[in-house]
């Protein structure tokens, strides 16, 4: 088994004054190449967990380590696909996708050099390839985000995030605003991309079926009491047999995420429990 790439080291997070605990004693290790679905009810701190990993917020206690190092600000090692506002509205689809490499390689002034235009042609060729992989047409490349449906916007957002080849892809309820059909398509697409690229994915969702369908591992966050922050109450590695009785598994996971903590019996569901839950 490879060493952990991401390490939540006893992380706690509180907001406001008086302090309102959101996360408490989060201890979690994620290996490279895992597809981890973070499951929990609205307000349980799933997005906060993701923002801590992004470096957009700092934990009140504990540390978040990536390859043994704290990252205190968002950077291009972690791609990000939020639920909304994922695309820059002033840029076309193509410019959105190539924004990452362009902004990294060229300053505002360097944009007026011949070298920039040559490189941009190369980047656009790669962007078209990502467009194709995410199921978009070439004709969509020249549209602005508001001319696309929600599903297409999220496809572009994924292409945009993948263009910089991040080692970790963080998705925050990325499909929750989509209709069921599009949602299913997107789930299959991101799962396929994960399998072919091997990127480590942290996927935040409150939809148990979605987590089951996509994750190679499911982490459930829930609060024990309203006065406490959320903790990891289930940490399940999915195996082939674990999907045999999805209805029962969904029931158990939903009970866990609702805070009705049952004694874990992973063997019953063909699951390998990674942490002593509860």
């Amino acid at each position: 088994m490879s060493a952990a790439m991401i390490h939540f080291d006893n992380v706690g997070m509180t907001y406001g004054s008086p302090a309102r605990p959101v996360l408490e004693s989060i201890a979690l290790e994620i290996r490279q190449g895992e597809f981890v679905c973070v499951l929990g009810q609205t307000g349980c701190g799933k997005s906060t967990l993701l923002r801590l990993l992004l470096g957009a917020e700092r934990p009140t206690s504990g540390r978040v380590l990536i390859d043994g190092r704290e990252h205190r600000h968002p950077d291009r090692s972690r791609g990000y696909v939020p639920q909304r506002y994922s695309l820059f509205p002033d840029k076309t689809v193509l410019d959105n996708i190539t924004f990452g490499p362009e902004v990294s390689e060229f300053s505002l002034l360097a944009r007026w050099t011949p070298n920039f235009y040559r490189r941009r042609r190369e980047l656009r060729a790669v962007a078209f390839e990502y467009l194709r992989r995410t199921g978009l047409r070439e004709a969509d490349a020249w549209k602005y985000p508001d001319q696309l449906s929600g599903g297409m916007q999220q496809r572009v957002a994924i292409a945009q995030a993948l263009m910089t080849e991040p080692r970790i892809l963080l998705m925050d309820e990325a499909f929750s605003a989509l209709d069921p059909g599009t949602r299913r398509e997107m789930q299959e697409m991101i799962h396929g991309l994960w399998q072919s690229l091997g990127t480590t994915v942290l996927f935040v969702t409150h939809n148990t079926h979605e987590a089951l369908r996509m994750g190679s591992r499911i982490v459930v966050l829930a609060k024990e009491t309203p006065d406490h922050g959320s903790r990891v109450v289930r940490d399940l590695e999915m195996t082939e047999t674990s999907r045999d009785d999805p209805a029962e598994l969904v029931r158990r996971l939903e009970e866990a995420s609702e805070g009705r903590l049952l004694k874990p019996s992973p063997a019953r569901f063909g699951l390998k429990s990674r942490a002593a839950a509860v």
Binding site: R84, S86, P89, G100, L108, D146
Partner: protein, 285 residues
């Protein structure tokens, strides 16, 4: 007793809307000429409500003749040459120059608002001061400006900047703060640095709204410009209006006022079109 909606869902047709939108103009013009006609019947020398012919003659005079205090032009010159030497053109040019300088000085105001909204330390330094300056009545500072900077161009332009600058700074600040945090985080994850986020992400997104904000403040810009020109100037449209007031020159004042309104309308129209052209993705709500 509920009677339902009688007004909210009563929508006029296209031609009715057009007719209604011009109705007040037509009513105002008709009322003016009715009063002017009645007064001219009483007194053929009437100057307070000039007739259309008087206004046309006054405007033609202003557009083709130099000011009384200037040299007479070459009477054989073409109409274009006479216009370029006329009182109206020189006044327009003088006011236009001050207007352009003032608009250029609003660019730093936009950049300051952007930095205040994006960089917390810059915001901490400037926000309180600008909230305070925004409440100062700029015209009350006019004597101070004249004492400090003299009565030449600088004081008039500074008056405009003091009058409108804080509003533009605070508007830009609020627009910057309105950009979703996800966009900023996303830009960083794509490899952008602080200034790339500021200029290539946030500024580009807020620019159409900033231009709209400046458009809405055009009248305030002209108000401060006119105040400065009326009090201390030797040229400009407002100077001329103030000067003609002493001679009851309503036959030129009214066309001048309409000329200023037309210019402002054209600037507004130009900015609106430029905004649409430069930002095809932007849709006003």
């Amino acid at each position: 007793m509920s009677v339902g909606s009688l007004l909210i869902y009563a929508k006029p047709g296209r031609s009715t809307t057009l007719a209604l939108s011009w109705a007040l103009f037509a009513l105002g013009i008709a009322a003016y000429f009715y009063v002017a006609h009645a007064r001219h019947l009483e007194n053929p020398e009437e100057r307070v409500t000039p007739s259309l012919a008087q206004m046309a003659a006054g405007m033609l005079n202003a557009a083709l003749q130099p000011a009384e205090d200037e040299e007479a032009p070459d009477v054989d010159g073409t109409i274009a040459q006479r216009f370029l030497g006329s009182m109206l053109w020189k006044d327009t040019l003088a006011t236009g120059r001050r207007f352009v300088y003032a608009m250029l000085l609003l660019i730093p105001a936009v950049l300051l608002g952007l930095h205040m909204g994006l960089f917390p330390y810059v915001g901490a330094v400037f926000l309180r001061s600008f909230l305070f300056f925004d409440k100062i009545v700029a015209l009350s500072l006019l004597p101070v400006l004249f004492i400090a900077f003299g009565i030449d161009e600088l004081s008039k332009i500074i008056l405009i900047v003091i009058g409108v600058g804080p509003t533009i700074v605070l508007d830009t600040f609020n627009l910057t703060r309105g950009v979703p945090g996800e966009q900023v985080v996303k830009a960083f994850t794509l490899g952008a640095g602080d200034f790339a986020v500021a200029y290539r992400v946030v500024l580009k997104q807020i620019l159409p709204r900033v231009l709209n904000s400046i458009r809405l403040n055009l009248k305030a810009v002209m108000l401060f410009l006119f105040a400065g020109e009326m009090i201390a100037s030797t040229d400009g449209l407002a100077y001329r209006i103030a000067l003609l007031r002493r001679h009851m020159g309503m036959d030129v004042i009214i066309p001048y006022v309409l000329w200023v309104a037309l210019l402002l309308f054209l600037v507004d129209l130009g900015m609106r079109h430029a905004n649409r052209l430069l930002h095809p993705w932007f849709h006003e709500t």
